[in-house]
Amino acid sequence: MTQFLTILLDGTSYGMVLFIISVGLTVTMGLMRVVNLAHGAFAMIGGYIATVLVLKLGVPFLLATVLAAIAAGILGGLAEITVYRPLYRKGELPQVLLTIGLCFVAIAALTFFVGPTPLPAIVPAWLDQMVDIGFRLYPAYRLFLIVVGGLLAFIVWLIIERSLFGARLRAAVDDPQMARSVGMDVSRMFTITFVGGCALAGFGGAVGAGVLPLEPFYALRYLVYFLIVVAVGGMGSFRGSLVAALAIGIIDTAGRYTVPQFGGFLLYLLVFALLLWRPNGLLPPKSVA
């Protein structure tokens, strides 16, 4: 029982990190129909910036993560305007390659400036302790991740489901042509969404560094997980990405704790089967369902 609850908590906190990073990717891939393999790079950049701020300049942890999110958002906006925009009209292969190219450049740049060794996780003292949660002592850091992830999920839900911008966004995901023809500035919406998604990724990379350790190949190593969240949840589906991220976090954790000899095998097998069964993911938006 204790082990079951531990898996559930570990999986949920891990899933929350995946969610924070991937939700932007889900929305941008759903909205812009662009295969974006560079999303992990923005998370990585966010994580690196936060770590350097904390370790070298002594900036407080929370402030550093927010600054990292802002920086990742700005970089994302610049990338959207300069390299992503010409990409929307191209096929999947150019999209794949250009975004891999961006990953390479990001990896090279971070290694050049920070170095090739993995970075230590920045967990502040007030999170680096055990909390009694009834049946066992549990790291405060992981509880913090669950709370922050839940909070962000709620905020994103508010924006998407309860604001005018969100209503427009949903309309544009479901039918971009129609959205354009009723006068929405879809391309500005692209930029804003992209900035938001990258900022979230940067934040996720920064707060989640204790779960997904930062190293130069972060952008490619964990990319598969982010893409799985998007594909399993259904592109462009906010609810889908939350469900998928938590499910993946819990299943992967359960697999690693109970049958370590199979490692990630179980997860990939499930993803493979699920995508054969439902090619558009668990909860696809109306446009593709």
């Binding site: 010409p86 090279a108 594909a231």
Partner: protein, 336 residues
């Protein structure tokens, strides 16, 4: 959609001799010439040719078949592990090992192709990724068979045809790889010009229409995917036999990415694009890697961005443009 004019005009029968056909001899003449002058670089040359073979195989699936994949390393790695394990446990004849590895990878491509090729776009991309990831995990955990993350070592390969021993300088490996590459290239060359290859052009451009005129679209795609997988398996097997070690990296996402990068760098759907792309990639990696392993990543990443944004045909596309301009006719005239 890419215009059909990128292929040679179908009206010209392949048999009739034209002086421009002599160009086809160029890469092979170069490869043989390099054999005699490049002392100490035979290993690098072998490596380049293996990557060329791998990139040509991807050109078949991705360029000609239009099958969007990020998991081609699955077949490369499968071929490599199969050849290595076969040499250690069953028989260390290189040609037999090559054949077994090729068939194994081809069969794997056939089975997975049947499962996934009814999907398209991002879903297909994810499925190919998942297959490669599955194989990676399997190879990582089947330590007793594959050596896990230590890699598979202790591969000993018998002399080719019982005559040519793999020497320390890699001269045999060079000629062996060159011959295998040549055989596969001839096969690929004729396949893409066959009616089967032409039907894939049609499927890539408009699958619905091809289905409407009675082409068995799914079977054609599966066949091309299996052929491409077999070829990638050969490339992997060559890597295993010439380096005598197989690492988990042969199944990595990065490997799938790198081979796609090579293909697009050179220019897809021209077979020779793979030659230029792989050669430049490996040489840049070798040169820049000597300074710092991360400089080549920067250079390649930057090149990719520039090529995708500004030169869609890759380096071969640029060469074509220059040649056409020298001949005094732009691409547009050629099209009309």
């Amino acid at each position: 959609m890419t215009p059909i004019t990128q292929n040679p005009p179908a009206a010209v029968p392949a048999q009739s001799f034209r002086p421009s056909m002599l160009w086809h001899a160029l890469p092979w003449a170069l490869a043989i010439g390099i054999y005699f002058i490049a002392d100490g670089y035979h290993g690098l040359g072998t490596n380049i040719m293996i990557w060329i073979l791998f990139a040509v195989s991807l050109d078949l699936a991705l360029g000609y078949g239009g099958i969007i994949t990020l998991g081609h390393a699955a077949f490369f790695g499968a071929g490599a592990y199969c050849a290595g394990i076969f040499a250690i446990h069953v028989n260390n004849d290189p040609l037999l090992g090559l054949l077994v590895a090729t068939l194994f990878a081809g069969l794997l491509g056939f089975i997975t192709g049947m499962l996934i090729l009814h999907t398209r776009g991002e879903t297909l991309l994810m499925l190919t990724l998942a297959i490669a990831a599955l194989l990676y995990e399997a190879a990582n955990h089947a330590r007793w068979l594959t050596g896990g993350d230590d890699g598979l070592s202790g591969i000993r390969v018998a002399p080719v045809l019982g005559l040519f021993r793999f020497d320390l300088w890699g001269k045999t490996a060079y000629l062996y790889t060159l011959s295998v590459l040549f055989v596969w290239f001839v096969i690929a060359f004729f396949v893409v010009r066959s009616p089967f290859g032409r039907s894939l052009d049609g499927i890539r451009q408009n699958a619905k229409r091809m289905r409407a005129i009675g082409t068995p679209v799914w079977w054609r795609l599966v066949a091309m995917y299996a052929l491409s997988a077999a070829m990638a398996g050969t490339a992997g097997a060559l890597m295993a036999q010439t380096t005598r070690i197989v690492g988990l990296s042969s199944l990595e996402l990065l490997t799938s990415g790198v081979v796609a990068v090579m293909l697009v760098l050179g220019g897809e759907r021209r077979l020779y694009g793979a030659f230029i792309g792989a050669t430049i990639y490996v040489i840049v990696q070798d040169l820049a890697g000597a300074i710092s392993p991360f400089i080549w990543m920067f250079v390649i990443g930057f090149l990719l961005i520039v090529i995708v944004l500004f030169f869609e045909g890759g380096l071969m596309g640029i060469i074509d443009d220059v040649v056409n301009r020298l001949k005094g006719r732009g691409r547009k005239d050629q099209r009309s």
